[in-house]
Amino acid sequence: MEAETEASLLAMGFPAERVRSAMATHGADLVACAAWLADTLDGSTDEDAQPASEPPAKRSKMHDAAGMSGSTALPGPKLGFHLSTLHRAWIEAGLVARRCNEGTLSITDLLSADSLCGCSELHIVNFMIDVRRWLPITSPLAPLLICC
């Protein structure tokens, strides 16, 4: 179970060094937390309890929309308000109930081949800042504190 939890955390994109350090120090707690969350969120369905057919790390490299979201493939994006789809590694690790991803939407749905069929132009709007440049200007001492 610890190996599965570790693999899932790695698949979620956490740095390997930090994951291994956390597992070494708090491995049992993390596994217990995963089990507790699965119970709390009522994720212990028979479907969720099925053993994984392949390692999570390998599965995380699959990027087809239906595979990622676990939802039924749609001809286009679902309209209206939706929550975003969580990575299926959360479900496979038992941290999130499978039903939490039901009726959700992800960018793989929004930008699927079907959704972009006939599209002549796509705008991706995302105003973001680079914290590496922002932090020293707004908080000059912060980098020193982080380094220490």
Partner: protein, 143 residues
């Protein structure tokens, strides 16, 4: 903490390879430098990066997709950024709607165009700003 808080365009294309079939992809960013992207470097004619003027460090932290078709526009407004952690590791909200192509304003006086509502006016404003930004950028880069 992911300190490279700029849209991860390569991640988006990796997750959604159909993006590379779109003739023109406009990336509107806000950090002074466009996001580093291998796919954009490989296909510079397909990807356009625009940075609207905004307050330092961007009080406008908007996240949206505009899928343009000849007769329809699909808009998605998201609360998450286009980075792995926001897309797959957090619960965010997404609002999506499709709109038919708006009729051009009538040239003759006395006849009114169909009302497009406040959201439609915002959309129209967005398009005008992006168009002007694109024209400005083209003028700057083609000198």
């Amino acid at each position: 903490m992911d300190r490279h808080l700029r849209p991860q365009l390569d991640f988006v294309v990796h997750e959604c390879p159909a993006v590379r079939t779109v003739p023109r992809v406009v990336v509107v960013h806000g950090d002074g430098m466009p996001p580093q992207s291998q796919c954009a470097a490989a296909e510079p004619g397909r990807f356009v990066f625009l940075q609207p003027p905004c307050e330092r460090f961007g009080t406008h932290h908007s996240k949206a997709l505009f899928i343009v078709r000849p007769a329809e526009l699909t808009v998605a407004v998201l609360s998450g950024n286009f980075i792995f952690a926001d897309v797959w590791n957090k619960t965010n909200g997404i609002w999506t709607e499709s709109f038919p192509r708006a009729a051009r304003a009538p040239a003759t006086a006395g006849s009114a165009a169909a009302p497009i509502g406040a959201f439609g006016e915002d959309l129209d404003g967005y398009y005008r700003e992006v168009r002007e930004l694109g024209i400005l950028m083209h003028a700057c880069t083609s000198r």
